[in-house]
Symmetry: C2
């Protein structure tokens, strides 16, 4: 089987949600698996690139507010924005903790977080919201809450974000196919062409 | 005939060049015309949005350097980057001057500037380079050089850039179809769907 597509994601990004659905669909048609890796835009975009979040950027913020649901409809993906801004740290730590033991479960958890946050307008920022969702997937609630405060988990997330940035990842969604990096939910057609042709 | 697609461009942007070729191709298949309007990213992106140019943005600059020729090849468009950074002001003023009298000639001029700068690696920054290219299209060289120093032309460009920003335009290429705005050379598939379905 060919190497997995690497998918860099941050729960904070609605384009990341659209990309998460799109890349799994695409991978299924191409006989590839998808390996999910966390990044935190608060570090890559704000600290390394020195930019503001899109929502706080004049002109672009208003455009994205309009473009995300339009893109979701174009892609045939359910979308419903929560009124609160999302804080992704708890969910990202939970993902890292789960992923160390069971990547399949970690991906189902991540997909459920994305679905709740961006398709069902639930605020998935808090540890309690993340733990409740995890419990619904059969994950031990107390163990998950403990993991969110575990220094080893915090360090592992920091290291994974640093590794992503060192690999050149700056935005979400980012897809890496056989070493070639693509940024944006609107790049899936190019990713598909790259896979099918072997690149150019 | 349906309303023209509005295309906001800046000669400084290689994605704008790719978009300029892509939108004319698309418009031809949809029975639409394309109305070209200038914007200056130095004003929209840097002054209004408070961002750096892509090339000076950590991580994203390196990505774009790699992505532009890759995107050009994906779109079947010739691309060859000049080693000098482009200064678009002279060419933008010449476009505004030409466009006031003959939009068809102004568009051919703009396409020739894009072609020279981004497909043939010529530096089209200087007044002389712009005037030479214009002369090749039958435009009076002395009149063009005079127009570049004409306060009325300078004001007209400033006003057109302000109008674009007031309309929400921030990046290049931007396409507006029946009042709906799309940003990015990678959004042509969505623009096409919007035209063919009447929007959603």
């Amino acid at each position: 089987m060919a190497a997995p597509i690497v998918f860099y994601f941050d729960f904070v990004s609605p384009y990341g949600y659209l990309g998460s659905v799109g890349i799994e669909r695409l991978a299924a048609t191409c006989g590839r698996s998808v390996e999910w890796r966390p990044i935190l835009l608060g570090i890559s975009v704000m600290k390394v690139m020195g930019l503001k979040p899109i929502a706080d950027t004049p002109l672009k913020g208003d455009y994205a507010q309009h473009d995300v649901p339009r893109s979701a409809q174009f892609m045939g993906i359910a979308f419903n924005r929560c009124s609160q801004p999302m804080q992704p740290l708890a969910a990202a730590r939970a993902f890292v903790w789960l992923n160390a033991g069971d990547p399949g479960l970690a991906k189902r958890f991540a997909q459920a977080i994305y679905q709740a946050q961006w398709a069902e307008a639930c605020d998935m920022s808090s540890a309690d919201a993340v733990a409740d969702l995890g419990a619904g997937l059969g994950i031990d609630r107390a163990a998950l809450l403990a993991a969110l405060q575990d220094d080893a988990v915090k360090d592992a997330l920091r290291n994974q974000v640093s590794a992503a940035i060192a690999a050149g990842v700056f935005g979400v969604p980012t897809f890496t196919v056989d070493g070639e990096m693509f940024w944006g939910a609107d790049r899936l057609a190019m990713v598909e062409a790259w896979i099918k042709t072997g690149g150019w």
